[in-house]
Symmetry: C2
Subunit: 112 residues, 2 copies
């Protein structure tokens, strides 16, 4: 049978694709990695991302334990997002995916 060089290849890769799925998550993690932590700031920093969509993406990232939030009892309330250890360990994978994807895109001049 299939003696995979990589154990459970179909699960490992698809899990990562699911964790990063969609157009925004990598950008949002990039912001948080850059210590841009408040939703309003993150929104201002990513073209085309609405607060509603951002909050949905943050909820998914939080549910997946890739980010966590701190709530400061201030008026108005202050909320900030941080990378969990899973978020931190995902970062080099995002960098590798980003580098390959951009080299490939520039070579083929595709906008996809």
């Amino acid at each position: 049978m299939y003696v995979k060089k990589l154990p459970e290849l179909d699960y490992g890769v698809s899990t990562t694709i699911k964790a990063l799925g969609g157009k925004w998550k990598a950008c949002i993690l990039d912001c948080i990695y850059l210590e841009i932590r408040r939703p309003s700031e993150i929104c201002r920093n990513i073209t085309g991302l609405s607060l509603r969509v951002l909050n949905q993406q943050l909820k998914e990232l939080e549910a997946g334990n890739i980010v966590y939030k701190k709530i400061y009892a201030e008026v108005p309330l202050r909320v900030e997002y941080y990378l969990t250890s899973w978020g931190e360990s995902l970062w080099p994978v995002i960098v590798a995916m980003n580098e390959w994807g951009n080299a490939y895109r520039h070579h083929y001049g595709t906008e996809s």
Copy 2:
């Protein structure tokens, strides 16, 4: 504005996700990386993958210049698939995605 730590993050990551999209491509590249090159052999080695779906995936990988095929003028005709330089350079990204994804999956015992 968004001074991304990673240039064109949204494009780079999504290009890689698109190149690897779906459940089968990473497994197919794994087979070819393991020098399992003929469609019939690849099919036998990946549970649940039909020849029809495999041929579709190989066509996409070929169109994306991630794999190429060699046709041997024999009877019956022999066709073998190889990784292009893009396929070769994608391999470490697949390994990184696979490792993160499996560690994450085992930690959360999810089947996703």
